[in-house]
């Protein structure tokens, strides 16, 4: 082992650095939130409908969130690329896994912030009147899905960071990879937005999202070293 800081203190330091940059520049999260609200407006005019309910509402919400995730993933390595910060990180005696954990944690926080804005905005703007939203289970589904999204997003961001057509590669790579999350997320959310309340299906979908999270976390930790090697 190297004689550097431990895995968690290194990840924490990298995460704090990313959050400090985001707090100063305010680039990713406001853009993601603004983007999703704009998509809601587009959905209204594109479909000519004022409200959505049930499966359609869940599907549109998830598609919007996933598209907003693409924006965040596109910006994830931008500081490193523009200012050459990744070399400094790689020179420091820290485990490469710490870079992954730091980036994924940052993306996770961005996604949570995005949802804090986008989900109430969706409920306000487009959700059918009188829908009984089960807030706590919905928050659970969102948080669990964010873990998987953050893992895949950090991996995709690192994979695309050295390519020429970065902003094209990220959506083409990320969107097919998150299709299972879109299926599971939308199916789990559908009963939570309607009057039906929670359904027995919910646990099955949460289980699936959990498996997805585990698989991609482990996979990313296993392969991330090869993306940063030099």
């Amino acid at each position: 082992m190297r004689n550097g800081p431990g895995l968690f203190s290194a990840s924490w330091a990298l995460l704090r650095k990313d959050l400090a940059i985001e707090l100063r520049t305010r680039e990713s999260v406001p853009a993601m939130a603004l983007f999703s609200v704009t998509v809601f407006v587009l959905l209204h005019f594109g479909t000519g409908r004022d409200t959505f309910s049930g499966g359609l509402a869940a599907g549109l919400l998830w598609v919007t969130l996933l598209l907003a995730t693409v924006l965040g993933v596109n910006r994830l390595f931008v500081a490193e690329r523009e200012q050459g910060g990744i070399d400094a990180v790689l020179l420091a005696p820290v485990d490469r896994t710490a870079v992954f954990i730091g980036k994924a944690a940052a993306l996770f926080l961005y996604l949570v912030l995005l949802e804090v804005v986008a989900v109430p905005a969706f409920a306000l703007l487009l959700l059918a009147q009188g829908s009984a939203v089960a807030v706590l289970p919905l928050a659970g589904v969102l948080l669990l899905t964010d873990i998987g999204l953050a893992a895949v997003g950090a991996l995709v961001a690192a994979m695309a960071s050295e390519t020429r057509a970065r902003d094209l590669v990220v959506p083409m790579l990320l969107l097919p990879l998150v299709v299972p999350l879109a299926i599971a997320g939308a199916s789990a959310t559908e009963p939570l937005l309607g009057a039906a309340g929670s359904a027995p299906e919910l646990l099955r979908w949460l289980g699936f999202i959990g498996v997805y999270d585990m698989v991609f976390l482990l996979l990313s930790v296993a392969v991330f070293d090869f993306l940063l090697e030099d």
């Binding site: 991996l155 020429r164 094209l168 790579l173 599971a184 699936f208 996979l219 090869f226």
Partner: protein, 229 residues
């Protein structure tokens, strides 16, 4: 040398394909439900199995590359995925034709295997652009391998998600690949599977031989040029 044994392999492939097509049209009986249209099954399903197998093989070969650092494994992984993408086009077109013939629509969203196949195909279509938008060849091999492994792990996950989303078991012809087929159809199916596997391996070998030759010529030219000029 990637070309070793290519001639014997090609002959075996040609024979296997001939026997397979002969069995399909002259030996296997017409399906009781679907009639003659079911003959597409012998082409479409083996192609799809070989194609997905090739994607998984690409992932395994990529692991071998990352473990060993030997560029030949990366080349094999690349060719395996490249050929699978090409077969994937045939799988989607034949699947679509089959859907039209037996269900009346060119595309059906409630056939999970077809839907998963489309998602997986879309993902693997990015392999080539990702690979060739990285200039440094050593880094190209590493990043492409990471992609191959990620996508290989993704394939079963995607199957699980789409299967879970099916509300009920919907009547399907190909449950358990040949398990419920009458023996004459099962025999034909397995011969077709063997033939398609051979076609895939032969195409991969041809591609590898041609890519390796091109690389060797490039190296020769590079050795000759500084001395000559």
């Amino acid at each position: 040398m990637f070309g070793r044994g290519l001639r014997a392999l090609s002959v075996a492939t040609a024979l296997a394909v001939l026997v397979a097509f002969g069995l399909i049209f002259f030996y296997a009986p017409n399906d009781a439900d679907q009639g003659f249209v079911q003959k597409i099954f012998y082409l479409h399903v083996p192609l799809a199995i070989v194609c997905l197998g090739g994607f998984i093989a690409g992932g395994v070969l990529a692991v071998k590359f990352l473990r060993s650092g030997d560029r030949a494994w990366d080349l094999r992984s690349y060719v395996a995925i490249h050929m699978s993408v090409i077969l994937g086009i045939a799988v989607l077109i034949t699947g679509s034709i089959w859907a039209k013939a037996s269900w009346g629509h060119w595309w059906v969203w409630n056939e999970p295997t077809l839907v998963v196949f489309l998602i997986v195909f879309l993902l693997y279509c990015v392999y080539q652009p990702l690979r060739f938008s990285i200039e440094d060849s050593e880094r190209q091999a590493r990043y492409a391998s990471v992609f191959a492994i990620t996508a290989g792990v993704f394939v079963p996950l995607c199957f699980a998600a789409v299967r879970l989303a099916q509300p009920l078991v919907h009547p399907r012809v190909l449950t358990g690949a040949g398990a419920s087929l009458p023996p004459s159809m099962a025999l034909t199916f397995f011969v077709c599977l063997l033939a398609m596997t051979l076609v895939y391996v032969t195409l991969c070998k041809v591609e590898l031989t041609s890519k390796h030759s091109r690389d060797m010529i490039r190296r020769l030219r590079r050795r000759l040029e500084p001395a000559g000029g």
